[in-house]
Every structure is written in C-alpha cells, then in structure tokens.
Amino acid sequence: MLEDLLINGATTGAVYALLALGFTLIYGVAKILNLSHGAFYMLGAYIFYASLNFLQLETFPALILAVIFVAFIGAIVYGLLIRPIIESELNVMVVTLGAAMVFQYMVILLFGSTHKTIPYLIPQLPLVEILGVSVRTQKIVALAVSLSLIVVLWIFISKSKIGGAMRAMAQDRETATLMGINTERLFVLTLVISASLAAIAGVLVTPLSVASPDMWMFPLIISFSVVILGGLGSIKGSLVGAFILAYAEESVVFLAQGEEHLRGAFSLLIMVLVLLLRPSGLFGKRVEME
C-alpha cells in the first residue's frame, strides 16, 4: 500500500509541477496572472480527443497537433486580449477568466456537455508491475514525460539565450528592455510555452479520469495552490510546492479511503497555513512596499 502512495504521489506531483511551472513562468516573466491556464489544459485534452476520433490520427501526431493548436490559441489570447491591458493586473485576470469561460462554452457547443473518455497514450499495455504493485501505464508515462519536460525546461531557462532573457525580464523589466530584449516577442513566447505545457498536462492526466467542459477549474486551483505554496514567479518553489502538495493530498486520500472531495479542501488548508507562516510562499520574493 505504501508503494501505491509513493507512485501516485510522484505522478501527481510531476503533473502538478508541469501545470504550475507554466503558470509561474508567465507571471515571473510578464507579470500576467493567466487565469485561462486551466482552459489550455482542457483544450489540450479535447483537441487530442478530437484528433484521435474525428481526424483518425495516431497517438503521437494527435498529441503534437493538440500542443501546436493550444500554443496558437495562447498566442491569440495574448495578442488580442492581454496585450492592450497588460498594465492593469485586475483587468488581465478578468479578461483571461472570461476567455476560459468562452472556451468552456465552445467545448460544450462542439463536443456536448457529456463526459468523454480519452484512451491511454499506450493503449496496448494498460497495466505494468513495479515494485510488486500493478500500476496503470498512463501514470508511468505521465510521470516520465512530465519529469523530462521539467528537466528540458530547466535547462532551457538556465542555459539558452532566450532563457537568459526570461530570467533578466523577471529580475528587472526596465533594464532588460534597455539591454535590447524584445518584450513583446518574449511575452508571446513565454505564454506559448506555458500554454503548451498545460496542454501536455491535459493530455497526460485526462485518460486517468474523464474529460468534461468544466474540467479547467481544478487544474487552475492546483496551479494557484502550488504557486502560492512555492512563491509566485519562483520555478524552484513551484517544483517543491507541487511535490509537497501532491504527497499531502495523496496521503489524505489514502487515509480517508478515497474521499476524493477532500483533495481540494486539503490544498486550501495547506495554503492557509503557508500564508499564515510565510505570506510570500516558501521561495517567493517578499512583496516589497513601494
């Protein structure tokens, strides 16, 4: 039973980290609180479903198509909605939340409001045996893909030139602009990366449950909780926060014998505790008073 908890926690943690990384990245670089992050997750899952069922694609091309499509939508959301009002934090939140709701209703129009099941990425082999426990392959796939993407992203941010620009932008926006970094292009690129990560997370996780048009809220809550736990804008913080939250939740579900509804409530409890002890998260910068 403990092995179960270990594997479940690792998978959940890796996926949470993938979700929260995108959310925290776009905040760190562009100071955008993108509340359509959960909608990108949902769109990833639905476009994957559509390209499997309607376009009759193979698993891998379908995944690529879903990610490209969602990345494109992310760029459109930035260009049309966020860019004109980027100065007002509140308006950005409202507009992105509005976009998320529009996506939800569009999904209802196109796919109906009934639940959809999405096949595993490796449908031939549903279960594998690890450490004497039989685990659903999808969990292993989700874990492996998430972890490798996180590593790739980490290397990208710390080694590549664009990654350097992102870090510079996060540290000091004005100076970074003076050094010749193209703000607009960097913001679009960051949002595109963030949206694709969310889409991949959607494709990885949804086969374990079902796809429904209101599925965007839960990943959004998770992104908040992780990011508040780890500190907004801190990549290291989101990674640590994701695994803490995932193991805590899995333990609760494990101890309360499948009370899935307690999952979210427990994230809240952890969040409140962190806020009481460290108002800007474990690794966040202290919010300075101006």
Partner: protein
C-alpha cells in the same frame, strides 16, 4: 448650420447635467425605476429586472472592497453563497419566516469574512486575488463530503442540487405569479436603494476615505498612524455583510440555494466572475458604476436570447441558446473591458467634465474679447 446648433444644444445639455446635484439625479433614476412595472412587462423581463437589482447590489458590495480599499477579491461569491445557503438552511430545516432567515444569514457571511479575511489579509496583490479565488472553489467541495458514521454534509446540503422549496415573498395563494413578480421587483429595488445609499455613505465617510488611502499608498497610511490591517478587515466585513444579505434574498427569489451561487456564475446567474465583469464594465471604484454595469449586463442576455432565437429561425437551425448567449455575452463584455478599461460610467463622467471645461474656456475667451 443645423448640426452646429444641435451640437451647441448637446453641449449645453451635457454640461448642465453636471450642475444637477447627484443626489437629485439618483433620486430621479430611482423614481424612474419605481415606474418600470407600469410598462406591463412580461413576467420574464420582470424576473430579469429583479436579477439586475440583485446583481447591482452584489457588484456594489464588491466595488466597496476592491474599488475603494484595493483588496482584490475574485471569490466574492463565497459570501453570496454563504448567505444563500444559510438562508436556505434556516428556512428549510427550521421553517423560519423570511425576515428572520435574511437577518440570520448575515452574521454567517460576516463570520466567513472574518475567518477568510484574517489569513488572506496577510497577503497582497496577486496572492490575495488567487487565494480569494480558490476559497469558494474549494469550499464548495466540502458540500460533497460524506463520512459514514460521522457526518453526512452531502445529504444536509443536497449536493449539487442544493436546497430547494423555499417560500417566496407574498406566499399567500390568491396572488398571481405576475403580482408576485411585481412584489419581488419592488422589494429588490427597495433593498438596492437602501443598501446602495448606505454603501455610498460608507464610501464617503471617514472610514471610506481611509479605505482609499490604503488603496493609494498603504505605507503612507501606516505612517499616518492608521491600523491598515484593521481597516482592510473592516472593508472585508462590510462588503461581506451586503453580499450575504443579497445572497439570502437571491435564495428566496430562486426558492432555493445551489452550488452555483458559490461559483463564477453565468450570464443568468450571479457569481464571482459576473460581479467583477459588471463592476469593471460600469466603472470600478465609483459605487454607481457597478449599478450601471449590472443593469446593462443583466438585460443584455435577455436581448441576446431573442436575437439568437430569431437568427436560429431565419437560418433554420436549432442553435443551443444557453451556450451561444453565454459566448456572445462574455465576448461583448471582454471587448468593452479591453477597449474602455476605466468603465462606461467613469468614461461618460469624464467626457462630461471635459466638455464642461471646454465650454468654460470658450466662455472665458468670449468675455475676454468683449472686455477688450
């Protein structure tokens, strides 16, 4: 010639509006709203107007918190939903009369504001927005908890269907549904009128000025010896007071409370997201802006619905009305927010002030010429 004359007339009319005391304007508007049921509206439109009053009060309570004291809360439906649920619980399980359930539901909203506000107000800006957004989403999950042998919240709260079968205003049978609609309209209008005046007074009082000083510069307010945390908590509780009151009213209006009262809402149901849209649409931080925004944005779906039905008939399609209404509604609201980020009411007032200034300058010029 004619156009310049019309323009002169328009300018003198527009500038003279500014000379009318706002109190009188508000009173005239209130009188106009009192006369609305005389227009023999359909029962459906009357319902929409009641909803507009509810939304207006809900949005105004949000405006006092966010527009005045700058504490961004994206989960205001928490208080609205708690008001609705506690009203429904008191009515359903204890059978209390309406005035009692409304009065009893308010302390629960205020208590929730204190419980949520205490940890939340340690954080600022984006953190506060995220935490407040998460609170109701997670709180609603507690309604589904069912631990055998200990407590079955799911059964008490009625899961996603909520609690239904509440009495309405005018519960006595001889009244027709239409008469009941008119009664509900007047009660809601009275509630809005009284509460909006109270909120306006609070916003203009010493406490309200301190709220604005916190929004402008928290550090300077602290340096002036203001206990900012206490005032922020005060803003939270005042706002929650009105939100839970109107939530209780909404429960009686809908004859029940469901989990949708705690969520983002939709074009036809109040919620966290809807108040934010309405307030920003109307003009944040003005108290009257949200009322304008709520009226426009609550009446909008009723018209959109008609248009969509018409288009569907013309094109011979069976369009899913709910979804199309919601999509077009949100797109319109978002376009307005992107284009006029200060809000409609604020923009109009600014435009009027600008006109008045130009007029003043022109008059001065004329006088100068004469003197010369």
């Amino acid at each position: 010639m004619v156009s310049s004359y019309l323009r002169r007339f328009y300018i003198s009319f527009a500038t003279s509006i500014l000379d009318v005391p706002p109190r009188l304007l508000a009173f005239l508007l209130f009188l106009l709203l009192l006369c609305v049921p005389l227009m023999k509206l359909s029962g459906y439109l009357l319902t929409v107007l009641v909803l507009a009053n509810i939304n207006a009060l809900f949005a105004t309570s949000w405006d006092l918190l966010v527009g005045r004291s700058g504490q961004i809360s994206l989960g205001h439906a928490l208080f609205f939903g708690i008001g609705a649920y506690s009203t429904a619980l008191f009515s359903h399980y204890f059978g209390l009369p309406i005035w009692a359930t409304l009065l009893l539901s308010v302390p629960f909203g205020v208590l929730a504001a204190l419980l949520v506000g205490f940890p939340c107000l340690r954080v600022k800006g984006p953190y506060l927005a995220l935490v407040t957004l998460a609170f109701p989403l997670i709180f609603v999950r507690l309604f589904f908890v069912d631990i055998p042998g200990v407590i079955n919240i799911k059964a008490i709260m009625g899961a996603e269907f909520g609690i239904s079968g509440l009495p309405s205003f005018l519960p006595v049978p001889p009244y027709s549904p239409y008469q009941r609609g008119i009664a509900e309209y007047y009660v809601s209008l009275l509630l809005l009128g009284v509460c909006a005046v109270a909120l306006y007074k609070i916003a203009r009082s010493k406490t309200g000025i301190i709220f604005v000083s916190i929004l402008d510069d928290e550090l300077a307010s602290k340096a002036s010896g203001i206990n900012t945390t206490r005032y922020k908590l005060t803003a939270f509780t005042i706002s929650a007071f009105f939100a839970s009151l109107v939530g209780g009213f909404y429960a009686h209006f809908m004859r029940g409370a469901s989990t949708s009262t705690l969520l983002f809402g939709s074009p036809t149901a109040p919620g966290s997201f809807m108040v934010v849209i309405m307030t920003i649409f109307g003009g944040i931080g003005t108290i009257y802006g949200p009322i304008v925004g709520a009226y426009i944005l609550t009446l909008l779906p009723a018209f959109l619905r008609e248009i969509i039905v018409l288009v569907g008939e013309l094109a011979n399609l069976r369009l899913p009305i709910e979804e199309w209404t919601a999509i077009i509604y949100i797109i319109i609201a978002v376009i307005f927010i992107v284009a006029w980020s200060r809000g409609i009411a604020t923009s109009i007032v600014e435009k009027l002030n600008e006109l008045a200034e130009i007029e003043e300058l022109r008059k001065d010029k004329k006088k100068g010429k004469k003197r010369r």
